[in-house]
């Protein structure tokens, strides 16, 4: 099962490598990874998605919690949550394709953020599934470049991940 694990960690050099290293060391997989400082400059928020059965996820969260640099951790998939992945995608946009790409972008509520004579760069935010669908709708042949932020997530309602 796919899980979104999100954590606050000390904004220290080497903290990220401890998290990433743990995954390779113990044979776990990271599917997506997103990390940036928070409003509190001493803390970073790291969100990752991984796949595993309950036993494996339990081990992953326990080992992450053991890392001294990890301050607090939540498995967002255990409750209601909002998740977003941001994609910048550069696609071929010539001739008839130009209108077609524009229409598809509108359907997915994306934005064209850069326009060239032969290419569009589209920004699209949403769940990973939605981004996958957009990529499928455009088709491999016309995609020039894809950049995704990895999933960022937050709990719904009053629940917060803070100190």
């Amino acid at each position: 099962m796919r899980r979104i694990i999100s954590m606050l960690m000390e904004n220290e050099p080497g903290a990220l490598s401890r998290v990433v290293g743990l995954f390779s060391q113990r044979g776990y997989n990271i599917e997506t990874l997103n990390v940036a400082p928070t409003h509190d400059s001493t803390l970073s928020r790291l969100t990752l998605t991984t796949v595993g059965d309950d036993k494996k996820i339990e081990q992953i969260t326990k080992h992450l919690n053991k890392l001294i640099d990890v301050v607090k951790l939540v498995d967002l998939t255990e409750g209601a949550h909002v998740e977003r992945d941001l994609m910048l995608i550069k696609v071929r946009a010539q001739g008839a394709l130009r209108d077609e790409v524009k229409r598809t972008t509108d359907i997915f509520r994306g934005q064209i953020v850069d326009v060239g004579p032969n290419v569009y760069t589209i920004q699209l935010a949403g769940t990973s599934d939605k981004l996958d669908s957009f990529v499928a709708a455009i088709g491999d042949a016309d995609i020039l470049e894809v950049v995704r932020s990895g999933v960022a997530g937050i709990s719904r309602g009053e629940k917060v991940l803070s100190l």
Binding site: Q59, I68, K72
Partner: protein
Amino acid sequence: MELLSGGEMIARALEDEGVEYIFGYPGGAVLHIYDALFKDCKVPHVLVRHEQAATHAADGYARATGKPGVVLVTSGPGATNAITGIATAYMDSIPMVVLSGQVQSHLIGEDAFQETDMIGISRPIVKHSFMVKRAEDIPVIMKKAFYIASSGRPGPVVIDIPKDLTRPDEKFEYHYPASVKMRSYAPAQRGHTGQVKKAAKLLLSAKRPVIYAGGGVIQGEGSELLTRLARELNYPVTNTLMGLGAFPATDRQFLGMLGMHGLYEANMAMHHSDVIFAIGARFDDRVTNTVSKFCPGAKIIHVDVDPAAISKTVPADIPIVGPVVAVLEELLTQVGAIRGKEKDLPDQGALERWWTQIDEWRASHGLWTGRRYSESKMIMPQQVIDSLYRVTDGNAYVTSDVGQHQMFAAQYYRFDQPRRWINSGGLGTMGFGLPAALGVQLAFPDMDVACVTGEGSIQMNIQELSTCTQYKTPVKIINLRNNYLGMVKQWQDMQYEGRYAMSTYEDSLPDFVKLMEAYGHVGMEVHELADLDAKMEEAFAMKDKLVFLDIFIDPMEHVYPMHIAPNGSMKDMWLSKNERT
């Protein structure tokens, strides 16, 4: 407030931390620190001959005393040489603080002379690590390092210190904090009361109980309480390789070590039990054999200070996260409360039948009453350990290396006290025994310290004989000499039709007696069983001499019992070369 340089702050912090010995080796990146130690530091420094030995010596010291071992090495090769010892300590949860020098801050990343990314290299094998960025942070980092290394589930902590931050001409205000708080580190202080209550009930409802205690009981200083609990309930106890000494081995309730080379009675009792009380143990693959076949009828209570150790391989029915002492205290209270109301618990009839069964196992293939090692004209390795046990009155600190000799020592030396058996259980590091013995002997100069080893292992850190000369540590080295890498040979006998691929030295072994003389020690060969006890006594009578007993044993002997793998359960064992359960 006093002004000190980075190097001086390190020296002073070691004093303030109450460190008794620093094990290390100087080099370019740590020369400022060494100069500070030389000029003004009360903590003696032990100069080893290889940095790996510094970590093992500090490790041996830590295992014997319970206090963190301290290591100081230079950058680059000094740091990488320390890695095996750090990994050894990590696998066995041993408190250790390793100070490694680093090239100057402005050179980091430029492939400078003797530069290596110590934080990166050591990352998977440390509990935590610190890269010092500002000299004024040194006192707090030192305090945190010692705190992290020795609290919760202990482990090694590395502090990497760029040379420029230890310069003698830059001084800072020194204040060593009395304590530190870390928002991201709070090891459990006690077990969950509800869980402990449940555990007490389950424990008392048992008809075929086993207490399975590991190294965590020793590390957590829980031996006394565990012994009290076991005796109060009259439950059988087995110890892991790391847990030997957690419960007195000469006690009638002791079943011996369990696992791959565990005793028949211990493995049989585990397999047929209905309740297992696991404490400070981690269901290691060398214990469980095939996990899916592990103790099919048993409910499992698992106590550990590390939540990640619980249900890692074998799922626990009642997990309890907490330090062993706090949990055992509460458990004893709960057990007492339940028994106050229900006086017939546990079921004495069932317990009696269980003990009858265990005694039958003991009588049939038990290590002390049922099983006999092979008959031979040569000295048997088991006889050597037995002789060592008798001559030292079971009171010695025994370190070991890794292989057959380690298993014989674990099986046959009966440890009645914790911290007396010092071996690399998790990582299985050959070369551990001699430097570890050095560390133990320095901690306890008046005690007998024996290093049980083989020709393979001893040669992996044999240079430390020189360190033993320098610091006059009268370790007794018991070499079980069979001219093979014995455990490798045993597996080759059992699984590779006796093809001894690269497991013999042919005629290349040194004359150990002469070698000892070269170092200023005493070496003696023992060939006849009739001489064994006398030579052993002679060795231990030389109180101020390192003595190496080169004891020629039957090279064909195997360690038994031995779990049958793959796909075997706890009860599936080879009992001798041609006899199995």
